[in-house]
């Protein structure tokens, strides 16, 4: 099992990463094609829904939200691992983060953008969405700051802009490298512009270090708050199955979980597509896998806590919702969630699977499926089994339009992500160098120590 070589030439690092911007494997184009197709289909669904009305999604009076909000939470959740892991690991000086954090942060950014799309497709009057923005106006009309949806909007805006800035700031030295190594053309112009004249001077590095650290510090509480607020959309309401105190930590754990699983998936794809075998090494993958396993167990625990607290409370209405989830129309999906979320990750506990790429790939997909199901199982059963039995619904199955947009969102995300990786270095060159440098130092030190011992 090879890790990054200490003696790798720094020039080779530059070369390898820069190559990824030019000639990926064929698979890249295949994925891009399917992503385009999926996105196109989703777009068609949205146009149809926009023209005709939300009814074509087969939403109905109690079941007012459906897959859109569930998938919205999914994407918000997915965004968490990128930035949060990057920031936490940065603070903890965990060097193994360095080759993988860039794409993880890009994943954050793009999944947030995808989540934003769901807010759009979900609202009944998309053409009036700006009513939700707090802009000064003559009539003194403001959005309702008491609404958790508005907190959501605010949190996501903050998170998205901070993540983009974090990603960008961290990429400036690499953009300078790209600028210096690129043939003249639109790319070079772009890199020149974005590199802001970075030359790696001591003053730049000094301020860079502090800035990067500061933003990382901000991002951790921010990321936690974002998913807590998404949890508040539910926990702040009065509905059975939603009004649960443990929802914020539960959501955050779920978010980290799905984010980590997505990192594994994307890690494996990028490693192959962009020939990053030397940088995205199996020992790193193994670390992520172990982390994911730990988070999976935390999630499982919080899940159990939620059920237990509902079960032992005397809130019969919430209990009914839980029973409905286990035994009602939704039970296959609910048990699917339990299986994918709590049982499948046990694969990660087995040592020989921790570096088995096909197994990890399949497992990570299953985990994400489980996490998507989790979100659906949070949103839908409460609607169809709420306080008012008269309105419990019969026909809550999402229509092709809803499914189309869910698949379309994956297309959209993949599209953005792949384009990003093609335009910007998805492995941080300067930080891999740092990593290598630190290792060399470390080796030297231990050699010196050894010699001293002799």
């Amino acid at each position: 099992m090879k890790d990054i070589r200490e003696d790798i030439a720094w020039a080779k690092i530059n070369q390898d990463v820069m190559k990824s911007l030019e000639n990926p494997r064929k698979l890249y184009w295949v994925i891009l094609f399917f992503a385009l197709m999926a996105f196109g289909f989703g777009l068609g669904c949205e146009v149809y829904q926009y023209q005709t009305g939300m009814g074509v999604a087969n939403l109905n009076n109690p079941q007012v939200w459906g897959l859109y909000i569930a998938t919205f939470i999914f994407w918000i959740g997915m965004s968490h691992s990128g930035t949060l892991l990057s920031a936490i690991l940065h603070l903890m000086h965990a060097d193994w983060r360095k080759p993988i954090y860039r794409f993880a942060e890009a994943m954050t950014t793009f999944s947030l953008m995808t989540a934003g799309l769901f807010v759009m497709v979900h609202i009944g009057r998309l053409w009036q969405f700006y009513y939700a923005l707090p802009y000064p106006n003559d009539r003194g009309i403001w959005p309702n700051f008491q609404s958790p949806l508005l907190w959501d909007a605010m949190a996501i805006f903050t998170y998205l802009s901070s993540s983009v800035l974090f990603l960008f700031v961290g990429m400036i030295p690499d953009l300078a490298i790209a600028r210096d190594n690129m043939q003249a053309g639109w790319r070079q112009k772009l890199y020149t512009l974005l590199a802001l004249g970075w030359e790696g001077t001591d003053r730049q590095w000094r301020n860079f270090r502090v800035t990067y650290l500061t933003i990382a510090c901000f991002l951790i509480p921010l990321a936690v708050s974002v998913h807590s607020i998404v949890a508040s959309d539910f926990a702040m309401s009065q509905q059975p199955g939603w009004h649960v105190t443990s929802f914020p930590p539960y959501f955050v754990a779920g978010a980290l979980y799905s984010g980590c699983a997505a990192i594994i998936t994307l890690f494996i794809i990028l490693r192959y597509v962009f020939k990053f075998e030397e940088y995205m090494t199996l020992p790193i993958l193994k670390k992520i896998v172990r982390l994911t396993f730990a988070i999976a167990m935390v999630w499982t625990y919080l899940n159990a806590v939620e059920f237990a607290s509902v079960w032992y409370s005397h809130d019969q209405v919430s209990k009914d919702v839980l029973i409905q989830k286990m035994t009602g129309n939704y039970s296959p999906f609910w048990w699917g969630m339990i299986f994918c979320g709590s049982v499948v990750p046990l694969v990660f506990a087995i040592k020989r699977f921790q570096t088995n790429i096909p197994v990890l790939f399949a497992t990570s997909l299953l985990l994400n499926l489980g996490m998507w199901l989790e979100r659906w199982m949070i949103v839908a059963p409460t609607f169809s089994h709420g306080y008012y039995p008269w309105t419990w619904d019969h026909d809550q199955w999402p229509s092709i339009v809803q499914w189309g947009m869910v698949f379309g969102s994956f297309g959209w995300f993949t599209l953005l992500f792949l384009l990003f990786c093609k335009v910007f270095p998805s492995v941080s060159m300067y930080e891999v160098k740092e990593m290598v440098y630190h290792r060399t130092l470390h080796l030297k030190k231990s050699e010196t120590a050894e010699q001293g011992a002799h």
Partner: protein, 176 residues
């Protein structure tokens, strides 16, 4: 008095460190080691800061200012808007309710902090910057560069020191 730039490239930090030490210990007319020397490196290198001496960073003050202003602005924007919009009551809640406003204040606190930190970074690091007169793309690979700006008289002394420490390459700005 005209000054000229001089750039020397080194393959590793130890060499560069030795050069800087020497420059600091040597008094050269027309060259101030604190003002006229810039070290460029491909990676963030704490040692560089060490051997360059104590140079303060002010970004965190921007952060403090941004976060506080963000928070204050957030709270008063929201509460003020609510107070002016009192016709739209929410049953069971005061017109300016604290819990939601605290959540939003918190977000605005972070938003302000992050934005102003970035601003501070750009200001403190002098970005976006004009490219300096002498630069080598090798810095973006693995070389350490020492850029000095000195009076004509000092140039040769500096050059000698650079050469002594086995500079890989020395670039010289043309005289004016």
């Amino acid at each position: 008095m005209s000054k000229r730039h001089l750039l020397a490239l080194y393959s590793n930090f130890d060499e560069a460190e030795a050069v800087v030490r020497e420059l600091r210990n040597t008094t050269i007319n027309g060259f101030d080691v604190n003002d006229d020397m810039i070290v460029k490196s491909p990676i963030e290198h704490p040692e560089v800061e060490e051997f360059l001496g104590d140079k303060p960073v002010y970004v965190q003050w921007f952060t403090l200012f941004g976060a506080l202003m963000g928070g204050l602005f957030g709270f008063f924007l929201i509460s003020g808007a609510q107070a002016n919009f009192y016709m739209q009551m929410k049953g069971g809640k005061p017109i300016v309710p604290f819990p939601p406003n605290f959540v939003l204040t918190y977000e605005m606190f972070i938003l302000g902090g992050v934005f102003i930190t970035i601003l501070g970074f750009l200001v403190c690091a002098g970005l976006p910057a004009k490219r300096s007169p002498l630069y080598s793309a090798k810095v973006s690979i693995d070389n350490i560069a020492i850029l000095v700006n000195a009076e004509e008289a000092a140039i040769s002394v500096l050059k000698a020191i650079f050469t002594k420490h086995k500079a890989l390459e020395i670039q010289e700005e043309a005289g004016k």
